[in-house]
Amino acid sequence: MTDALLEVNGLRTVFDTRAGTVCAVDGVDATVRRGECLGVVGESGSGKSVTFASVMGLVRPPGRIEAGRILFEGRDLRALSPRQMRAIRGRDIAMTMQDALTALNPALTVGEQMAEMMEAHDESLPASRGARRRAIAERSAEMLGLVGIPSAGERLRQYPHEFSGGMRQRIMIAIALASRPKLLIADEPTTALDVTIQAQVLELITDIRAELGMSVVLITHDLGVVAEHCDRVMVMYAGQVVETGPTADVIGAPRHPYTKGLLASIPRLALRGQRIRPIEGQVPELIDLPPQCRFYSRCPERGPECLRPVEMHDAGEGREARCVRVVPEMVS
């Protein structure tokens, strides 16, 4: 596929714990095309954040990437030196975190945290100190303006605690976008925010995406957010991708029982008059999983044919699902 910006193949990320090796990401394939917004959905512990932390090279011990290929513009990120990887982080692939309050350094001003991003990546800055400082200040103010923070010049001298929660989130986005990345990984960008501000922040990301022509990976557990903002969606469960496809198709006609369950448990998307049905049970422990469908214990459609490893199956129209029922002849 030529328009793939990011291509992840067979990614396996594990954490060595006292209880055993936890396989947080198990054979994940993912593709992000240029200019598109990919929604990544799943419960806590589904591996969605770890997958993209792996892409960023930010998995810390005791975690490690055990296998897989991560191609960004055709370059294998796993083969890069730490220095080369640092040059890509922030400049080509930027990330925002769930909670801006903890992601912004309390001891540094917003301006400093913005400036260091540009200092690290922007080669177009003038060489002389004074001119460089002025250019950075100007660009920083411009970025804050872009995310809708007024009187940006003054606010650059303030510390994160002097801003409201929604503003901090926007500042973090502004910092992430400061060097105009090709890919933005937004990890739960709205979870820590009030409902009214959630919409604003998501609109902001969508607008800037159009303006900068960048790709966005929107990691969330909220299918409603995905429905509104993403071109394609990737549903994860217990470290595996269980369903992918164009957002409208997946939400309109989910193929995997887990996706169906997710949709049925969302108030906004459930049909009027229909009861909200939570998915029974819990995500299995990711240690020593039996070689069977991981959703087996919670699946309302389970059968004996599910008691063996399940592959991703082509479900037509660019869709795939990890369920034997997608292929009728596999169900006996």
Binding site: M56, L58, P82, M85, R86, A87, I88, R89, G90, R91, A94, M95, M97, D99, T102, A103, L104, N105, P106, A107, L108, E116, M117, A120, H121, Y159, H161, M172, I175, A176
Partner: protein, 335 residues
């Protein structure tokens, strides 16, 4: 830092000092031993002479009266005369103070420049050999009593290796006219690098002994807070920004990690005051600490009183200073 807050903190000193005065006065009066007896020693005096001495020193009056007289004079800045020196207590203390301040400062510098880099290194290389050595070392550092460690250092460096002098501030051969009363500075100001090196060789062992527990504590605090900070989201976010490793460590992590270290350092400096008494005695350092110990032995009441008050003021001021530093380093806190 508002002026009102500053005044408030200074006013807080009053009850502290009053309390300390009462406690010291009571303790010293309850301590067995009589200053007049000690002064007389083996000499033969008549009872009238002894009474006269007692009267001169004001010791013939009841305790509460003595205390009120002391308070009244102290408020006016008069701490009385040292029984032993026959001179105002303030003068005697002022003479000995620079040696103590100099020793304390050098001990602090040694503690800071070893503890912070070690703590940071131990945190970055967590569970490495270096980390383990540093952790065990710091445990030893807080556990070893100063008098024992000091004597150990003397035995090794002064007696066995004959590298460093045993006691004093500077060799007898050097006559340095005081300017600042800080030996290390005066020798340089007088253009005597040879004397400076000699003074340095005198101060190094007592300073290490004095600074050891502080080094150990600061190392542990730095290590712990650095580990804590390195786990924070803002460090991950800084990494996600593709910043250089040194920038993440020093600008993002260390700046936050040092907040507790600095507060603890300021407070620990107060505990160096107590350490001074032991270290100065072991190393024959002519400072306030040894003066106080000697004064306690001879029941030199006025001097002990004044010195303890001075310690109390210093301690409170150091805590105050720690608070100020905390606000300077931590923009979230407004005093």
């Amino acid at each position: 830092m508002s002026l009102a807050r500053l005044v408030e903190r200074l006013l807080q000193l009053i009850p502290v000092l009053l309390g300390v005065s009462v406690i010291v006065f009571v303790m010293i009066t309850l301590t067995p031993g009589d200053p007049v007896d000690i002064m007389i020693g083996d000499e033969i005096v008549t009872e009238e002479q002894e009474e006269a001495m007692r009267r001169d020193l004001g010791l013939d009056r009841p305790v509460h009266e003595r205390f009120l007289v002391f308070l009244g004079n102290a408020v006016q800045g008069d701490f009385g005369e040292s029984f032993y020196h026959g001179r105002p207590v303030a003068d005697v203390i002022a003479e000995r103070l620079p040696a103590t301040i100099e020793l304390t400062l050098v001990a602090m510098i040694i503690a800071l420049v070893t503890a912070i880099p070690l703590g940071v290194l131990a945190a970055i290389k967590r569970n490495s050999i270096l980390d383990r050595i540093a952790t065990v070392g710091s445990l030893l550092g807080v556990s070893l009593p100063g008098f024992w460690f000091g004597i150990l250092l003397i035995m090794l460096f002064a007696v066995q290796l004959d590298l460093l002098p045993v006691s004093g501030r500077i060799g007898y051969a050097f006559e340095i006219e005081p300017i600042t009363h800080f030996m290390l500075i005066d020798t340089l100001l007088r253009g005597r690098p040879d004397a400076f090196l000699d003074a340095l060789s005198h101060i190094i062992l007592p300073a290490i002994t004095l600074g050891l527990p502080m080094t150990a504590i600061l190392m542990r605090v730095t290590r712990a807070s650095m580990l804590e900070v390195l786990r924070q989201d803002y460090v991950t976010f800084a990494e996600a920004k593709g910043l250089a490793r040194h920038r993440i460590l020093f600008r993002h992590a260390l700046k936050n990690a040092l907040i507790p270290t600095v507060s603890v350092a300021a407070i620990e400096t107060g505990s160096l005051l107590g350490g001074n008494m032991i270290v100065e005695t072991v190393f024959g350092w002519p400072g306030l600490g040894r003066l106080v110990v000697e004064s306690i032995f001879v029941r030199n009441y006025p001097l002990v009183q004044a010195a303890v008050l001075l310690y109390a003021v210093t301690y409170v001021m150091l805590n105050f200073f720690a608070d100020i530093l905390y606000t300077v380093l931590n923009p979230r806190v407004k005093l």
